[in-house]
Structures are given as C-alpha cells and as structure tokens.
C-alpha cells in the first residue's frame, strides 16, 4: 500500500469566495484512516466553509477533493453521505418530536409493504431494533423509541454519532462537540472517539479548546484568514507554537494613530452577571478611550453588550454611568442616557431594509425632528444628509432603500443612526464583520475620530488585529468569565488568546457545580 492510499481524504488547492470575499484560499488537507485531525483557527478563518464544502453544502470554486482516490465533484449532501462523510453539527440537527430510532434513520427509512402490495410504509420495529443494537455498541442505554426531545444535549450528540456510524461513515466531522457537555459526558465522548479510531474511522475535530485537542488529536491543521497555514503532528507542536500559527500576522498601518487623551470615567461595570450567560464582569470605560472586549465565540461578549443597552436584563451587578448608579431598562432608555449600540447582527438588529437611508438614519432620533404633530422633513433630511456626507455613505440618493446597499454602507447607516442620537458611549459589536477592507479602514478612522471628540467606545471584535490596533485596554472573556483586563502594553495576540482559552466550560455549568 503506497503512502497516498493511506489518506482517506486528500484535498488540494480548494478555494471558495462569496461575491469577491475569499472565505477559503488554496486549502490543502490530508486525512489518514483512523486518525483524529484537529482543525483550528480563529472565528472566520475558513473552518466552516471548508467543512460545508466537504459535506456538500457548498461548491468549491477551485481545487480537488479526493475521497479514497475518487474525486468528489458536485456539491450534494446525499452524495457526500453516501461516500461516508458525516458531520455532527454544532447546533444539533435533530427532529425533536421524532424518536431516537426515527432520527437515526431519517431520510433512509427502512420500508415494508402492507398486505403484500401497498408499498412505502416505514418499518418502525426493524429500525427500532437496529437502533437499539447501535446504541448498545456505543455504550448508550437509551430507549430507541423515546422522542428525541427528552434527551440531553450529550445524548443527542451520541445519537448523531450513532447515526453517522449507521451510515457507514468513514469520516466524521465534529464541530465543537464538547461545547455543551459536562466533564463526564466529554470523557464518554472521548471513549467513543477512541473506539472509532480503532475501527479506522477518521475524525475531523473542530475545537477552540487546546486541552482537548492535545488530549485526543493526532494531527493539527491551522487555518487563518481563509488560508492554509500548516499541518503538524500534535507531538511536534507546543501550545505557544499553535497560538502563533493561529494568530501570527503582521499589523500594517491599517489602524490610525489616536490623539485622544483619556478623560474621566464614563461607565463603570461592577460584578455584572446574567445567569447562564456571563458572571462577574468588571471594568471602567473612560471618555476618549477605546475599550476592547475580546474572546472566542460563546465567550459572552455580545451578551454583555446586550445587557448594557437594555436588550437583555442582567441578573445582578451594578452599572454606573457618568458616576451615577443606573439601570438600563430598554434600548430606548440606553439611547436616552447616551449609550448607543451597533449590533453584530446587522441584518437582524441593525436596519430596516424597506426604509430609505434617510429614514433609517433618523429612526433613533426621530422625535427631535418633530414639529407639532408631524415630522419636519426638512430637519430630518438635513440631519441625515450631513451624516451621509460625514460618513461618506455611498448611496444613489437619500431615498434609496438600505436593503440594497453593500454591507459596508449598511453598516455606516447603522453607525450613523446611532451617532445621530448624540451618544457619549458607543458600543460597536463586530463593526467590521463581512465588510471589505476599505470600509473597514474608514470605520477604524471613525472610531479614532469619535474618541478624539471625547466619546468613549467599547469595541467587541473577533479580529485580534482590530483589538490590538485600536484599543487602549482590553477585557478578555472566556466562557462568560472575565479572565483579564489588559493594558495596551500587555495586550498581545498570545496573551489575549491565552486568556480567551482559559475556561472550557460555560459559566452556567460551573455555577451549577459550585
């Protein structure tokens, strides 16, 4: 057997763009039978895109995928499954009302005929029996006739694995499989993985958790910015080396120098907690300062922001704004007190696609343009047009609907809407997600300008260069807990990543155990 045949999956030059945005570029990947291969990288590094191509949910623009020597061409979920590639999704794709057995056989039900000629009836007893055997093999004591909704997340995950095995999966992709599991459940999962390995099943293991990766994986492949960075055996790569591979990139002069001086404390957060989301968050924001909030996905960054702007209610802790203890009841309340929020979910929380650029811009400050019972169009128009010029929003006209603008311009409209409420503090949650580099640079310049005007900025970002390039201080969250408050001098990609990965269990699980 030659060496190449040893690889069950062999990927070369795989590329994928979404309308000009490179999600994956020249990806290489070799997977051996019976190995657990970790795929690592920051959020947005291209892991998901790669996985989606492998399971047939996306079509690659270029490159080849060889599966057991055969080229995998078209994007077809069924075909990938038939070849033997299965994925255990992060968000469980199960039908809660159907039984365990019905879920395992979903889409390839065992059939039987009725009265010898009426065909197309499902053979539930047969499926149930086979599912039972399968679950037994996995050491899972579950009634296959139990509706899925009664299962714990860990059990559902095991059922998903059972489903993959029953599919004769040769490659199983696991996307953050332990994110919702307890220690005991993780241990059980690792036993199953070990068992699968022995049977020659290859596993692609996506995780942010270093301890896990070092515990069960044989090989690590790192992606960054959609590019393949390298593949190393776990034994030859220490944690520092891995972090450098994941984040190591140069920061150019993308980030403008700020002349802002640090002013008085504007916002103080003391022991802010929300059950199941985050606990004991503690920081100050000064006027003229950019405070960064860094962390991995699920660290609770957005949740903290939502609590600060009244979209969610914190369960305990204090917020002081302008030196006074305050509560923020609703987004309207936040705006009135002088706190503006630009959501990470631009489409969901940012703008109204059907309304014009002007109407979106003035939406949060509309009562200011009221004359008597009616809106003064003149006043509204002039405020909006000034903002369009100021932020250089590219529109065909002020009446253009926001829904048809590019992502960068939509984001500028959302920021402009917030600025028109004259906030003293503006919280920017992933302000540059999904927008091109030019618009990014303009937003960076804007952030600097705002702080120079004495405004305080909280910047939440998954892009470390952004955090490092713009922030005066950085709060690092890990699984809902604040693990560091770093000064500019202390902030490096390595320190931030180290603190971001400090905890591996969600905050609510920890609280339950304590």
């Amino acid at each position: 057997m030659s060496l190449t045949q040893d690889y069950i999956l062999s990927v070369h030059g795989l590329s994928k763009s979404f309308a000009g945005v490179r999600a994956l570029q020249d990806m290489s990947f070799q997977l051996r039978r019976g190995e657990v291969h970790a795929l690592m990288g920051e959020n947005g590094a291209g892991k998901s895109t790669f996985m989606r191509i492998l399971v047939g949910m996306e079509t690659a623009d270029a490159g080849t995928i060889l599966f057991e020597g055969n080229e995998l061409k078209s994007s077809n979920v069924r075909q990938s499954r038939r070849f033997g590639i299965s994925m255990i999704h992060q968000e469980m794709l199960v039908v809660p009302e159907l039984t365990v057995a019905q879920n395992i056989f979903l889409g390839r039900e065992k059939k039987q005929s009725f009265l010898g000629f009426l065909r197309g009836f499902t053979n539930d007893p047969a499926m149930s029996a086979e599912a039972g055997v399968l679950l037994q093999k996995l050491g899972l004591h579950l009634n296959p006739d139990l509706p899925m909704k009664y299962l714990s997340v860990a059990e559902m995950q095991m059922v998903e694995i059972a489903k993959a095995i029953s599919n004769d999966a040769k490659v199983i992709i696991m996307d953050e499989p332990t994110s919702a599991l307890s220690d005991r459940e993780v241990a059980a999962l690792f036993e199953v993985i070990e068992d699968l390995k022995q049977k020659g099943v290859a596993i692609i293991y996506i995780s942010h958790k270093m301890e896990e990766v070092y515990k069960i994986c044989d090989t690590i492949t790192v992606l960054r910015d959609g590019k393949y960075i390298g593949t190393r055996p776990v034994s030859e790569l220490d944690k520092n080396g891995l972090i450098t591979m994941m984040v190591g990139r140069e920061i150019s002069d993308l980030f403008p120098e700020s002349m802002a001086g640090k002013g008085d404390v504007l916002l103080s957060v003391r022991g802010l907690s929300q059950v199941g989301k985050f606990a004991n968050i503690h920081f100050d924001v000064h006027k003229g300062e950019v405070l960064g909030i860094a962390g991995l996905m699920g660290a609770g960054r957005t949740e903290v922001a939502r609590a600060l702007v009244g979209l969610d209610k914190p369960t305990s802790g204090e917020i002081y704004f302008r030196g006074k203890l305050t509560t923020i009841q609703s987004p309207r309340d936040a705006i009135r007190q002088g706190i503006g929020y630009v959501s990470e979910d631009r489409k969901g929380f940012g703008f109204i696609p059907e309304l014009s650029v002007v109407h979106n811009l003035t939406l949060s400050s509309l009562p200011r343009h009221r004359k008597g019972a009616f809106i003064s169009e003149q006043s509204e128009q002039s405020a909006a047009e000034a903002m369009i010029r100021d932020l250089r929003i590219k529109v065909s006209g002020p009446d253009q609907k926001v829904g048809v603008l590019s992502g960068g311009n939509q984001q500028k409209v959302v920021i402009g809407k917030v600025l028109l409420t004259d906030p003293e503090l503006i919280i920017l949650d992933e302000p540059t997600r999904g927008i091109d580099i030019g618009a990014k640079h303009e937003i960076y310049k804007l952030i600097t300008r705002l702080t120079e005007a004495g405004m305080a900025v909280i910047l939440i970002s998954s892009e470390l260069p952004e955090i490092l390039g713009l922030c005066d201080r950085v709060v690092v969250l890990s699984k809902g807990r604040q693990t560091a408050l770093l000064s500019k001098e202390e902030s490096t990609q390595e320190t931030i990543m180290k603190h971001a990965m400090e905890f591996s269990k969600p905050v609510d699980l920890l609280l339950n155990e304590e």
Partner: protein, 327 residues
C-alpha cells in the same frame, strides 16, 4: 442559508429596480383603471354619477375597516375582530341613539369609546401575552360577537333618532355623508402613516421588529396604538352601518374583517408587514366594490362574484411574493 448569503453579497449599491417591482407598485392602480374602462365599455350604466356614488357609499364601510387593518398589517399583525367590533360598537351606539334620549354626541361618543376600548384590549393582550395576533383576535372576535348579543339581548336595536340616521343616510352638499367620512378618514390615516413619528415607527416595526426595538422604539406602545386605531375605525364603520340600516344589529359585520384584509392586501400591503400605503388600501377597497358592482350590472350571480374575489386576493398575494423575490 447558502442562497440568502449569496443574495446578500450579490446586492450592489446600484442595483436597478426590476420591472416586476414597478408593476407591483402601480399594478393595482393600473388594474383598477383598466377595470373601470372595461366596465364603461361593457355597460353604459357603469359610468354614471349615480352608480359611482353608490359604489363609493357601499365601499365606505369596508374602506374604513381596511384603513384600520392596514395599520395593523403594516406592523406584521392581523385583526380578525373587525366584524365583531362593528357589531358591538353599532349596538352600543344604537342603545343610546333612541329619539329624544341623548344628544347626538352621546351615541357617537359611546360607540367610538367602545371601539377604542375593544381595540386597546386587543393590543394589550397581544403585547403582554406575546401570543400571535391571529390567535388573540380570533378569540376577541368571538368575545365581541357574544358581547354584541349580550348588550342587545339578542334583538336588533331599532327606533333610532333622525339625527343619528343622518350619519349613514344623509347628504352634505349633495354628497352622501358616508363618503365624506371616508374621505376624512383617508386623509387622517394617510397623514398619520406618512407624516408622523407613529407612522414611521409602524413601518419600522413591520420591516424589522428587532431592529426597531434596538433603535429605541417602544414596540409594544406602537402596537397598542395600531390595534386601538383599528378599533376606533371599526367603531366609525359600526356607527355608519347602524345608521344606514337604522338598527343596531348584533349579527352585523360577520365576515367584514375578511373583506377589509382583502382590500389592504389587494392594495399592496405586504402580508408580513413593512410596506403598503393607505392609497393602495383605498384602491383595493374600491376595486372590490367596482368588481361586485360591475358583475351585478352584467347580471352575474353573486355566487360567481365570490369566486372572482377569491381569485383576485390570491393574485394580489402572489404579486406581493414576486415583489419580495425580486428584491
């Protein structure tokens, strides 16, 4: 997911309005005019002042309800209790409208108040319970019908004063009074929608409720307003109807909500909220009126009219769907 992502990225700042969008926007006006021309050619009795006056008078009640439900649909809601509110408010007003009992403002005031309270109740339950408006107003539709029967003890409330009967049957400057009410209501509703903060917020909520809330809009308050306005307009319709038939009928208005919703939808109000105009709704109501009048003049039985009307409603929604896709 894949499609939406790609569609999202493919949108450019200069994407031109597609032709189907234009047809969608003005199609209903064109269809209305075309229909009128067609009917004028087919029967000489259509294009006469007398006939047109009849049409508009008949349309007025449906149009009033349709204006109210347009506000509601624009926020992404629905109001199925319109017909029952017509009955309740009509019966309440009639109870106070017997000759020499009270001055005219009393039956009108009490009737309108009943509508406002009923509408506010809809809004209150919907915003507090977070139960779908469809379900809530389905419930209050039945409650309202029951209330109308309770208040009237199941009997028509007749013997109404002449001044009260003027509302639905009188003329001012030779124009039937219901038409004047219709025009005033149309003007006021258009102004609210186009020129006030409330109007803007209504569009914003229908367009993206979460974003509206994040923008500082008190979504619950706006929703309270739209259901209350819907109740108020239903009360106006109830009073006009009661006055026109000179009795408060507890069984009046059955199915009126469906014609009103149909008018709003035919008039281009998006069923998921966020887009639509009062002018569109008015045309929608007139279109329904003209079709049934025209089919009458052409001696088509009312059975066929229902089939035609249903087909038009579906057609309008399909058009709305095509619009949505082209965006």
């Amino acid at each position: 997911m894949k499609e939406t992502l790609i569609a999202y990225f493919n949108r450019s700042a200069e994407s031109p309005a597609l032709p189907t969008r234009r047809i969608g926007k003005y199609g209903i006006f064109l269809a209305f005019i075309l229909l009128c021309v067609l009917l004028s050619l087919m029967t000489p009795r259509f294009l006469t002042v007398a006939n047109l006056t009849i049409i508009v008078t008949q349309v007025s009640i449906n149009a009033l309800l349709a204006f109210g439900v347009t506000f509601v649909i624009l926020t992404g809601g629905i109001d199925l209790s319109l017909g029952s509110m017509v009955a309740v408010t009509g019966v309440v007003a009639a109870t106070f409208a017997h000759p020499d009992d009270y001055p005219l403002v009393v039956p009108i005031g009490v009737g309108l108040l009943a509508g406002v309270l009923f509408g506010a109740l809809n809004g209150f339950v919907i915003t507090r319970s977070k139960v779908a408006p469809f379900i809530v107003t389905l419930g209050t539709m039945t409650i309202g019908r029951g209330l109308a029967l309770i208040i009237s003890k199941g009997r028509p409330v007749s013997n109404l004063s002449d001044s009260f009967n003027f509302i639905g049957g009188g003329h001012l400057f030779g124009i039937p009074f219901p038409i004047i009410i219709l025009l005033v209501a149309f003007a006021v509703c258009s102004l609210i929608l186009k020129k006030t903060v409330l109007g803007r917020y209504i569009y914003a909520i229908g367009g993206n409720e979460q974003a509206a809330r994040a923008s500082g809009i008190q979504v619950s308050r706006v929703k309270m307003w739209v259901y209350t306005i819907s109740g108020l307009l239903a009360a106006v319709a109830g009073i006009v109807l009661t006055s026109r038939i000179t009795t408060g009928q507890p069984n009046a208005g059955v199915g009126f909500e469906l014609s009103a919703i149909a008018a709003a939808i035919i008039g281009g109000t998006s069923t998921s909220g966020g887009s639509g105009t009062m002018a569109g709704t008015l045309i929608g109501a007139l279109l329904i009126g003209v079709i049934s009048n025209g089919l009458d003049l052409l001696n088509v039985t009312s059975y066929y009219q229902q089939v035609v009307m249903g087909a038009i409603i579906i057609g309008a929604v399909v058009l709305d769907g095509l619009n949505r896709k082209s965006r």
